[in-house]
């Protein structure tokens, strides 16, 4: 349960909002590097934290993420010409570099003070970096530029890390919360004949092993400098417990518990208050994916789900370039009631589609239609929701503190993002042992 007031603080991300400002203290995934495949290729339309932006790769290969509009007559730069180290508006030829600097104004009569106008005509540009197959953007104050998060998947070779993104039509928090909800995998993601879901090729998700029928895990949780880690302990008939230990990193990173590689997780980057871009990574630190594995990951139906690339018109008419899952509201997410009787718990084929079907159809607060911002004032949380409750509390606290001028610490220490999740059959002490080892590793890293 969350008051309407806190729910609004949690969910709204525009400029000047508490959570919007908190997100603007972190590097965020913006798009995939492969979407800008070559110098001077076509630009891509983005919206991040409610701001309309265009990404392009200049002649030297550098990525720029700049305002979507030319400052002259506000023509959309997406239609621009990407050439000779700048994106040129097609209306009157004004040109901008990756820093947003106006570097040409060709429609001024010769006696004009061109340089003065160019200086005035610079547009919003956010620093962009590439790592782990993604373009990252930092949209906060330039004097507070943070560390990149030190995720292991940002350091491996390209063939070892598969990334994807797709659009979910809900507020960001609605999606993110599903990632730290250990209990639901025993229900929503259950395949009959096994206790959880297992991707048959890449084996990205550790199965809940046979002998674990327990859908009511006992939760132990610990707040950390980077967010939280929790252990979900399930009874198992082996004499040991199934422990699923999950890391969650502010402001919105998940890492699915697994005992070994591949590891997988997601970043939930707000498009605006009502849409979120899901960035998915699946990587192995030990070896490259085989071509069979790679093809499987590309085609779905593991993580990511089967999807298609398209230009999507958002509610207000702004268009973004993205991928959209094939299973969606218009086709009832491919729900098959026979599959639901015979094959799996939900009747929907793919794991992330199962989550999204529910999240995109929850009732909203603030008089909004279903799927926008779930009405957290009406929910009824239980012990298995402690990670969600804690994550909300952490985020609200950080956002409110930031309003009082207290900057968050996590953005300045990327090494905090090195920690891993875990899934194992282990004794009751496993979570304490895990925390001790992590604490030891952290202090050695410092």
């Amino acid at each position: 349960m969350l008051s309407n007031e806190d729910n609004e603080i949690l969910c709204r991300v525009g400029q000047g909002t508490p959570m919007g400002e908190l997100f603007r203290r972190f590097w965020l995934p913006a798009l995939l590097s492969s979407e800008l495949p070559a110098p001077d290729c076509a630009p891509r339309r983005l919206r991040i934290l409610g701001e309309n932006l265009v990404a392009f790769r200049d002649s030297e290969g550098k990525v720029g993420i700049i305002s979507a509009y030319c400052p002259h007559k506000l023509a959309p730069l997406y239609f621009g010409r990407n050439e000779e180290n700048g994106l040129r508006c097609v209306y009157h030829g004004w040109k901008f570099d990756t820093m947003g600097k106006c570097i040409d104004i060709p429609n001024l009569p010769s006696k004009s003070n061109v340089q003065a106008l160019k200086d005035k005509a610079s547009i919003t540009a956010y620093p962009a970096r590439e790592a782990g197959g993604m373009v990252w953007v930092y949209m906060g104050p330039s004097d507070l530029t943070p560390d990149m998060p030190g995720f292991e998947w940002l350091d491996v070779e390209p063939q070892q890390n598969h990334v994807a993104r797709w659009l979910q039509r809900t507020n960001w928090a609605q999606g993110m919360e599903g990632e730290i909800d250990s209990s639901h995998i025993s229900f929503l993601h259950r395949e009959f004949g096994q206790a959880g879901w297992l991707d048959p090729v890449v084996k990205v998700t550790a199965p809940i092993p046979p002998g674990t029928t327990d859908g009511a895990p006992v939760m132990t949780i610990k707040e950390t400098p980077y967010g939280l880690v929790y252990g979900a302990r399930r009874n198992n008939n082996s004499g040991l417990y199934l422990w699923r230990v999950t890391q969650w990193f502010v402001p919105m990173y998940s890492m699915i518990p697994n005992g070994e590689y591949p590891r997988s997780g997601r970043a939930w980057v707000p498009v605006d208050d009502y849409n979120v871009m899901v960035f998915n990574y699946t990587y192995r630190a030990d070896r490259p994916f085989t071509s069979e594995e790679w093809d499987y990951l590309e085609s779905g139906p593991s993580f990511p789900p089967p999807k298609e690339e398209m230009a999507v018109e958002l509610d207000d008419g702004y268009v973004i370039d993205t991928w959209v899952p094939l299973a969606r509201k218009e086709n009832d997410y491919g729900l098959d009631r026979n599959r639901q009787k015979q094959v799996n718990y939900s009747g929907i084929e793919v794991v992330t589609d199962q989550d999204r079907a529910l999240q995109e159809n929850m009732p909203s607060a603030f008089g909004l239609g279903p799927g926008r911002i779930v009405d957290r004032s009406r929910e009824m949380l239980v012990p298995s929701d402690i990670p969600v409750i804690t994550a909300r509390r952490i985020l609200l606290k950080m956002a409110k503190q930031l309003q009082q001028g207290i900057e968050p610490a996590a953005p300045n220490d990327g090494s905090l993002y090195r920690n891993l999740s875990l899934s194992a059959l282990a004794p009751e002490s496993a979570f304490d042992d895990f925390l001790a080892a992590q604490s030891q590793a952290d202090s050695e890293a410092t």
Copy 2:
């Protein structure tokens, strides 16, 4: 003409509105029994009086109409598993019976006080009954549970009563008023070569007989305990008058005048302020329909119109399971200007489509777009509209009285709904005779 204030009272049906509360004093058709064909079949998404609901048939065949959302994390129950006498949310397995009682919470650790939480977790459920091929729902206070309306068509055998439903994209009153507008059948529904429309197979609508060119009926009206009855008298060259005597039952039931079986009519159940579900019945008390007749009714184009089953996204994004007429706004209702010159008055093929084409495109009050809530402050009513004027007055009076604590009487006497409409060539005294006979029958019934 109606003031904006009264128009709003007439049309808005959400919880707490005067008309919304009045509707909540009656049993209302909710869906067709055939939509829930077997125990544990797939649930159906409904919206009634602005409330989002799910209907399901449990393992014992009993129908439940409950809140659309699980109280835990507000996941949509439509995606749920219907099994072992309850609908189970697929998110974490919480289960609800047809009374809305929470009967299982499988994701609680064993030491939790499960029973206490179950008691707290009950959700809205409205009493449901089946009669006449429909599932009925009562959404009002439980201590005021009304009588079922005593319609003859609720008592005949299934093969004697054909029912259907479809969505109209207008406020409920906009559609209902067309049913008590005797004059328009001489125009909108006129087929050239005859004065009205006649279904060639089932003969559901009594034709306006040859010799009746009079489109300006003289109206006589009488308020009744259940609504009103009016006689529309047209000149006819036989020496007799064409009398069409129409019953209208609060809050929104029509019965088309006919001299014999089959009889037909509709219930206009508000989906929300801007959409209405039309429930259509066509029955014979004298014999079952032949299979030819039945097939004809199923396929249209009598009542119901040709239609397709689909999941429809309403304005705010909520999805309902329903039928939608094939003739609709996107295809100009199949308007054919040659047909309009040669075959019938409107150029649209099917009777209810003719009405709907007009009603879905009337200009709205309250700054709303066409088709929502017609701007009754601008209309210019004439004598043939007296039944409409009277019905509005009756409804507004009942709704306003209810606000003052005066409960309506009609819900408590289902026998009032037994009266029939009539169409006949008869002398000038016919309506008085009809009223006298009805009064006699009523007093004998009491």
Copy 3:
């Protein structure tokens, strides 16, 4: 740059708004004469200046433009029967002539005072005229009925004047401004291998001749009693200058500069605040178009662009009958990045589609989505925008004066609209010579 306040005055055109009232002082193109091809043909749905209207041609060939709704029950007259000199509502047969006069009410009982009701039942009708292949409408006070504009293209034979219309999804001013922006043709409309665009068949647009690489024209402007005329002077390697002299007529007429026939231009008639109907004319005063030229104009891709006829649902659900360009937002305006690299500056094929792609995606003021009313408070205008700045100033002044009771003069002198635009290689004095000649011609005409 324009304040939000002035931007709103410039753009909003509903009844009672300053600019809406100014538009209501002029004859405006409403639809094409060819859309009403014969007496008693099908009516057409229009919206002009935010008012919902229906156009029909009566049995004698006269065009009526009347309210979209019958006053009785507000049924849409579009579905009406057009017969015997009137449009008859199909609901109850009420009939209206081209003046909006109610001429039949067939559903009144004989003793009713039919004539009194008919008198009361007259509906809004605006005077309509036909000229130049278009139906024109005047929506202002009847005692201020203006002159028709004296455009040359209104006086030529039908085979000499090709007209078309299509819908643009922006405010009217957003489109109109592109017409008096000389600079952008050197960029947006550039075809590689030549300095501007040249239609290969009709040769409607004077090319920017070889030797003119100058995209920064020096602008000279003169306000006139009918609007403004400006000269855009470009350097040319011939020893002469390229002069493009453009006429702009209040409230929104353009005329593309050309040295000879054909001449071409557009009228930008507001549908409502967020949509504009573009009326395009292309004519020769010297001879009829050949059939090859005519077919080319009909098919696009000159002016008009390739387009399809359809019924379009506007934002609030009201439907208009119009043409819509094939290149549109849903297909990214046919943008081809290879074409943009190899063939032309924008990568979009057709001139007006190039403009529209930009204009329909500019960011809006007033919290509106892209493409509605561009946020002029954020723009950064330069010398080449002087005609736009001047036109805004003229319009705002006229609109504000009208609010103070000062009527505009231009509506009362149609001869002012006889002036022509010009494109030529000429010496520096050309614009002064042009103005002198025009002044001479004007005084001779007076």
